[in-house]
Subunit: 474 residues, 2 copies
């Protein structure tokens, strides 16, 4: 029986989404327009994401730093494309300490400017390179329409900014970080992703090119989930980041940046969750196991404690629900909160030498002998859940991925059962604009290593240059 | 021989401080006036502090959340004392998305307002209480004079905000969090602290009372290092945070807040460091051990690897310096960066069955048999360093703590060898103002559990009410 506080996702996906966010206590609207309060359940997911990614970054030689939240207008304007891209959506501080500022400053929408300014003072020789820095911080973009996690004026993210001696090394970094994101999405979030290059129209303002990780939501809508940019020398020329190279000549550095945001929490919800609430892959769930005692008996309590201790010792994140609610209420709460594994332990079960494990993903209940190796059993079931969520999402993604050769096909698909559309493109922006007329369908990315499926552009019929994935986006 | 890039701390303490910050690559000035760039070495210390404190907070039932960075003026103004206290030092956003805002918003100087607003929507019954939330974030206060870590327009901190059913519970929380800070300072940072209550004049705007952790720097100057506030019902009345209590009557909640900041990095520097650079207690050092191979021989390399692996396995944070610099340069670098333990391994040493351990705190070099249990040896020396730093700081603090009965004594002390002055006070603000004329000497805190040392106020000679610690502050 579905949770009554939650609209069915097949009836109204947008409403279902906000219902899940509220029911699982992930976030709340605030009295600051366009900004979200991250509540404990939501913030804990972000902390788990941070811990995994931060380890991956550090293992590949990146170091964390922290740059100021404000950027003086003058500094912001040095790279023309960047300011043009972000000017319409920044927030300006004009008064500080009761005084009008001589120069207004914006709250960072992204920090290429500050990193570039910093690097220009630090880099002197090829011996100083590479510098591979990252920061975890808040950023602000003055969005009009906002939705928790997916689009809000303030969000949390990490932004990596690196400078290198050669273009080859910088391009490799750009690619490696994209691969890091892909690994994170697939192995931890259990979300299958497509990776590729953004078109000129869709790339990041100021980048030579942008690589992207694209995921498909349950509803068939696409979500840009992480990007990695190669800047070449665009910023280093604008911000004068020069070094003496091995030939003792002055040269501009080659630069990258890459980021993922709290939007990933939105992706988790929209890919895995259901009409009973949140569903979380065990590898990213802040609480992996909830033990629920049924009844008041001492024997049950002692048994629950024993199971808790065994799991805790093996670093499984486990809790015992000792609140004064009915077991049924506790089951539903563990369910709506997306806890992957529930262990139900009652007096009658124990008499029958049994305990019950309930899986959040399939709702399956499994009776086990109470003396089983509980650590092994839980680890196995968590593994199963992790794999099942990935396979389930992949199956749906594949079902909703279409090869198209005519615009009418795209139109029919996007109006009935949308998803990823693979189609050939001539490389002309006008054709992208034309495609957008179909329910806002945009290019997600260029697939660089897949075989062409046609020799003509799906829009204009001229010679095709790229196989592109298209989709409707959030 | 002292580091040439660093002024002696006994010659010019302020200059020495900034020299150490630069030489140890902790922070850099930025082109954003009044804001600091936290460089990798500095930020890594903050990460270590966060990890320890976050664990302490979570173990005592606190949960992390995240509130918006902007506060609408109207919301900010609801509690009169708070806005009066912070109005002169906030930064206002007046333009967003190219439009003048209808209501300006400030960048949070602290978040009582947003937490109170949130709680007012969440709390209904005593069953919802307590709520014990914390957030790690950036805040902004428009300071005029700034110094890295000690005082800057933007800084990083944690702010805990809790709401409770009874005043007793909230007051206990206020006290417990102060004790948590004291434990953190003494057991991890190796900084002895004095704890007590702020006077009315020095308490936080809007608090019933403020408890504080006060430390003494090497120079004899005081540093307010952490505060814990009891709000009673001041904010709950202003923001209408009501709950139905156990008698089924509507009542306002009792509230607390508490915070420590990146200023703690400044305290670490000013208490422990010396003319050779940074000195870090092992429990907070991002890198605890640096292994330095001397010469190029394979045997040395293999031996270094072996030591590295053994230490790493025991979760000691260790690195091997494999850069192409001279051993002497590497020694100096490990020293200026404050790495507690250095292990020097050379071919000749190995022939003599020896390796050398160098302590950063005392500069002592210890020859050890190369086959010694290196994990045990390193753990012992780190323990020693941790204890020695605390004892050394405590000894200096105690030497610079004076009992005074006359203003002339305070004057003489503050003008020659300043420190903590213990003196009796009548409770009258006029006497605090008078005291401030002596080189800005301020009350640090009221010692509530110590015996009176006089029956007269040191300033006016009238009946004394409190034993107070006074000091010159940053």
């Amino acid at each position: 029986m579905a949770n009554k506080a939650i609209t069915s996702r097949d009836v109204d996906f947008a409403k279902w989404y906000t219902d899940v966010v509220r029911a699982a206590k992930l976030a709340d609207y605030s009295n600051v327009k366009g900004c979200t309060v991250f509540e404990p359940n939501g913030y804990a997911i972000w902390e788990k994401m941070q811990a995994v990614l931060d380890k991956m970054f550090k293992e590949t030689g990146h170091k964390n730093v922290y740059m100021p939240v404000l950027i003086p207008e003058n500094l912001m304007k040095k790279e023309g494309e960047l300011i043009n891209g972000f000017a319409p959506e920044v927030a300006w501080v004009t008064i500080g300490g009761n005084k009008e500022l001589e120069e207004r400053m914006c709250i960072r929408p992204t920090s290429e400017t500050l990193f570039s300014d910093y690097y220009s003072n630090k880099v002197r020789s090829y011996r100083d390179l590479p510098l591979k820095y990252n920061q975890w911080c808040n950023v602000m973009r003055w969005e009009k329409e906002t939705r928790p996690f997916l689009r809000s004026r303030e969000f949390l993210w990490q932004e990596g900014h690196t400078v290198h001696e050669t273009s080859m090394e910088a391009e490799l970094e750009t690619k490696n970080m994209l691969e890091t994101y892909k690994t994170f999405f697939e192995d931890y979030l259990a979300i299958p992703v497509i990776t590729g290059k953004k078109t000129e129209k869709e790339k990041f303002a100021g980048a030579e090119y942008t690589l992207t990780v694209e995921a498909l939501m349950y509803s068939g809508v696409s979500l840009q989930s992480g990007t990695s940019h190669y800047f070449g020398q665009k910023f280093s020329k604008a911000y004068d980041i020069k070094f003496s190279n091995r030939q003792n000549e002055l040269e501009y550095v080659y630069q990258t940046s890459w980021g993922v945001t709290t939007r990933m929490i939105g992706a988790l919800i929209m890919v895995h969750s259901d009409d009973d609430g949140l569903v979380l892959p065990p590898k990213i769930a802040p609480t992996q196991v909830m033990i629920i005692p049924i009844g008041e008996s001492e024997e049950v309590k002692t048994f629950c404690d024993g199971v808790y201790t065994k799991l805790k010792e093996k670093n499984i994140s486990v809790e015992v629900d000792l609140t004064e609610k009915s077991p049924g209420f506790k089951f539903a709460e563990a369910e709506v909160n997306g806890i992957p594994v529930r262990i139900e332990i009652g007096a009658r079960d124990l008499e029958n030498n049994e305990i019950t494990i309930a899986r959040r993903d399939t709702k399956e209940k499994i009776k086990l002998n109470k003396n089983i190796d509980i650590v092994k059993a839980v680890e196995e079931v968590m593994n199963d859940i992790q794999n099942n969520l990935f396979e389930r999402a992949k199956k749906r993604r594949d079902e909703l991925t279409y090869e198209c050769h005519k615009l009418e096909e795209v139109e029919r698909i996007m109006n009935t059962k949308p998803g990823f559309v693979k189609a050939m493109w001539c490389g002309d922006e006008a054709c992208e604009v034309k495609m957008k007329e179909i329910r806002g369908t945009k290019s997600r990315c260029i697939l660089e290593n897949e075989t062409a499926i046609d020799d003509k552009c799906i829009v204009c019929g001229k010679e095709a240059k790229h196989l592109v994935v298209w989709g409707i986006q959030y």
